[in-house]
């Protein structure tokens, strides 16, 4: 019986390594036959900004891997709308993540819906 596992990103990229290592962890988890999803809220939404260029600081642009999440069997990406708005951002500022069939893997949702989704998980890991 597989478990519902949510990987929650709440921190900005580059200032700390948590975002990068969260993605490493998610990819490792994708090898198991579980029901995985990934969520971005609070400063975690900054991880999805377009046009990142960490090469300027000799760092890796791991945000490019988000576009390939479906290849790893992770096809559900949830983003909290309030977290986007509170940061002066809008949906169009975020990168697109599509499934192999072309459909949008990203659901931008209100806090209440994010809350319900969280409550339905078996395992929640925050990074």
């Amino acid at each position: 019986m597989s478990k519902r596992m949510m990987f929650v990103n709440r921190r900005a990229p580059y200032g700390t390594v948590y975002g990068l290592e969260a993605l490493d962890a998610l990819l490792a988890a994708s090898a198991f036959d579980q029901q995985l999803c990934v969520a971005f809220l609070d400063d975690g939404v900054y991880q999805l900004l377009r046009n990142q260029n960490p090469a300027v600081l000799d760092m890796k642009d791991y945000s490019r891997t988000f576009a390939a999440l479906d290849d790893f069997g992770v096809d559900k990406v949830y983003v909290e709308r309030e977290s986007i708005l509170q940061r002066g951002l809008c949906d169009a500022d975020l990168i697109e993540i599509r499934r192999e069939n072309g459909s949008d893997a990203v659901s931008i949702m209100a806090s209440e819906d994010m809350s319900r989704l969280m409550e339905s998980q078996d395992i929640i890991l925050q990074f």
Partner: protein, 100 residues
């Protein structure tokens, strides 16, 4: 679901996110530095007082004692538990969700 929070609001806003997203009826356990947020009159305590109807609130006793915070300083409606009580809460709830 059992939610754990380990920082004060003035260290990190994770208590705020927890209170925004924790479902009604879930348990919230304050551990480590978060126990300061239960002190009456603090910014954290005012938020916690508003959420008492929605959540059952707990604070980890050894973290309170370590820091010199007495039970009399806490807002009403916070139950103090020891590590065995933390384990019991983790057993009672299907999922333990740490806000980091």
């Amino acid at each position: 679901m059992l939610h754990t929070v380990n920082k004060t609001l003035t260290e990190k806003p994770s208590l705020l996110s927890c209170l925004r997203l924790a479902g009604a009826g879930s348990d919230i356990l304050l551990i480590e530095d978060a126990v300061y947020s239960a002190i009456r009159g603090s910014t954290g305590a005012r938020l916690l007082e508003q959420s008492r109807g929605k959540h059952q609130l707990f604070a980890l006793g050894p973290d309170l004692e370590c820091r010199g915070v007495k039970a009399a300083q806490l807002i009403d409606g916070i139950e103090v538990v020891d590590y065995a009580g933390f384990v019991a809460l983790a057993v009672k709830n299907d999922t333990v969700h740490a806000w980091l």
